[in-house]
């Protein structure tokens, strides 16, 4: 009898030990991955979830945010350049979004396939533009010294830089939720999303609401771009590597639902982290696709759906 034949189920590869430390460390890694996804998905939740615009250039707005951090670093000391980059990244992303909305997207509302193709093209143009301006090799953005080091959380050495990203993601969620819930701008945006004609006829400029939504959504992509410089290098393909995951988060979370987006981002991050640990990065990616397809078969509306007595 051949060796190992008695345990055919375990013969493919050695099973990794799954003790408490490993579980904790995967959870924390997952939270870090989820935080980056969340930052990027929050903006997309506004432009795709709220407005129904499939903006494939959203990833390139992230890339623009990352290059903003790179540029700002040339003019500011490392200690503060990241903090300076965050608001500038927001404005850069926001302005790019505003321009895209005004020039391209506003003519294509209710034509999702056209929007998808055109914004995909815009994304490619932006990538090439980045290659022309900054060159193809990735740029390194130095993180400030106050983000170096680790914090001990239940024995897990959590890098402060990743902790910072998580904190910023939570801050962004709270900021977006509060803006949508408590400000007049938030009310106008929600009203426009829920009933566009009615919004117009109660005196809301739906064009202005669209522009504001796009500015904020794209601005958040810019902020996400600034922050991902802490965990990776900045290159022309940065956006491409995130865009699919980010769309998955928004769809799985339930279109336009902040709560769902948060849970989906962290959920996906943690599942990704465990699957990557158990298998390999690319197998994990494929498995996540399968899981999400199965999940959407069972719950096409995502984690959270809009509940109402009438949809008018």
């Amino acid at each position: 009898m051949r060796e190992g034949a008695a345990h055919p189920r375990y013969s493919l590869r050695p099973c990794k030990e799954l003790d408490v430390d490993v579980v904790l460390s995967q959870v924390f890694t997952g939270i870090s991955i989820g935080s980056v996804l969340l930052l990027a998905a929050l903006g997309l939740m506004l432009t795709f979830g709220q407005m129904g615009v499939i903006n494939m250039a959203h990833g390139e707005f992230m890339m623009a945010g990352a290059y903003t951090a790179y540029m700002v670093q040339r003019g500011f000391p490392d200690e503060i350049s990241l903090l300076v980059s965050i608001p500038i990244g927001f404005v850069v992303g926001g302005l790019m979004g505003l321009l895209l909305e005004a020039v391209v997207i506003r003519w294509m509302y209710h034509r999702p396939l056209d929007t998808l193709l055109v914004t995909f093209g815009v994304g490619l143009v932006l990538q090439q533009l980045a290659r022309d301006i900054f060159g193809a090799p990735a740029k390194q953005v130095r993180s400030p010294s106050w983000l170096h080091g680790q914090v001990d959380v239940f024995g897990y050495q959590w890098p402060i830089s990743r902790l910072f990203i998580t904190a910023m993601a939570i801050l962004a969620v709270v900021g977006v939720a509060a803006t949508m819930r408590y400000t007049s701008l938030g009310r106008r945006i929600r009203a426009t999303v829920q009933n566009r004609d009615l919004a117009e006829t109660v005196g809301i400029s739906t064009r202005a609401a669209d522009r504001a939504t796009f500015f904020i959504g794209s601005g958040l992509a810019g902020v996400a771009g600034v922050l991902v410089t802490l965990v990776g290098s900045t290159g022309p393909n940065l956006g491409q590597s995130y865009i699919i995951d980010v769309f998955l988060v928004v769809v799985a979370g339930g279109i336009g639902q902040i709560k769902g987006t948060v849970i989906a981002a962290f959920g996906l991050g943690i599942i990704d982290s465990f699957l990557s640990h158990a298998t390999s990065g690319s197998v994990a990616k494929a498995l996540i696709f399968v899981l999400i397809v199965l999940f959407l078969q069972a719950r096409p509306e995502g984690l959270f759906a809009v509940r109402t007595r009438s949809l008018v």
Binding site: R187, R188, A191, N195, D197, E200, G203, S205, L311
Partner: protein, 230 residues
């Protein structure tokens, strides 16, 4: 004051409303009646700007608004309560009102005024509009429009599909509004008796054309019935 002059309205190549001339004088109340499919809602949507008039002119207080966006017409004093108890379902009752009050100098005052007009809404302020009953939603819709401080109010079948006790209340409010004197009202209504009581001029719309019009009031009931029976 609202004037429609030779207004055509349609959807793509089909013209639904043909050459309508209609005047709502300052402080006056006008009823538009007609069977289902006569083009009443289409006409109102053009008056508000949700549909483009393919020809003709729309004047609001003498200003040509034919090509103006709805939100700008609202800023110039046009109020519109659409058909079907429409609301922003995910916003609470209060948010539905606040949304319109935002940025208005008298915003807070206006909200409490409309809550006095529709006291039933006071207990529902924190409930999402999507969870209100049809009658409550319609009261909210009228209240929300009143917060825009209209001088010219357009109501599209405000009592359609609503339970009878709320209909009485809504009719009472509309009758009071038409008596205010500083508000012009254009009312589309299936309930001919109420429409004639509440207004002083009527128009009958059949297959997209005005087929008769005249002074309103209970005496006009027979004339309108005859016009609509054709």
């Amino acid at each position: 004051m609202l004037e429609l002059k030779g207004v055509d309205v349609g959807y793509s190549r089909t013209t639904v409303v043909h050459g309508v001339d209609l005047v709502v004088p300052k402080g006056g109340a006008v009823a538009v009646m007609g069977h289902n499919g006569a083009g009443k809602t289409t006409l109102l949507r053009a008056a508000v700007g949700l549909l483009p008039a393919t020809s003709g002119t729309i004047l609001l207080d003498g200003e040509d608004v034919t090509r103006m966006r709805p939100s700008k017409r609202v800023a110039r004093g046009l109020g519109y309560v659409p058909q079907g108890q429409q609301s922003f379902p995910q916003l609470t009752t209060l948010e539905n009102l606040q949304l319109v009050a935002d940025g208005r100098a008298r915003g807070g005052e206006l909200v409490s005024e409309v809550l006095d007009t529709f006291p039933a809404l006071t207990g529902l302020l924190s409930r999402r509009a999507g969870l209100l009953s049809g009658g409550q939603r319609q009261q909210l819709a009228i209240a929300r429009t009143l917060v825009t401080e209209p001088r010219m109010l357009i109501l599209d079948e405000p009592t359609e599909g609503i339970q009878p006790n709320v209909v009485t209340e809504i009719e009472g409010v509309i009758a009071a509004l038409t008596q205010r004197g500083d508000l012009s009202v254009l009312l589309v209504e299936q309930h001919v008796g109420f429409a004639l009581r509440a207004t002083d001029t009527y128009y009958v719309l059949e297959a997209g054309r005005i087929t008769s019009h005249g002074a309103g009031g209970p005496d006009a009931l027979d004339a309108v019935r005859a016009a609509m029976a054709v």
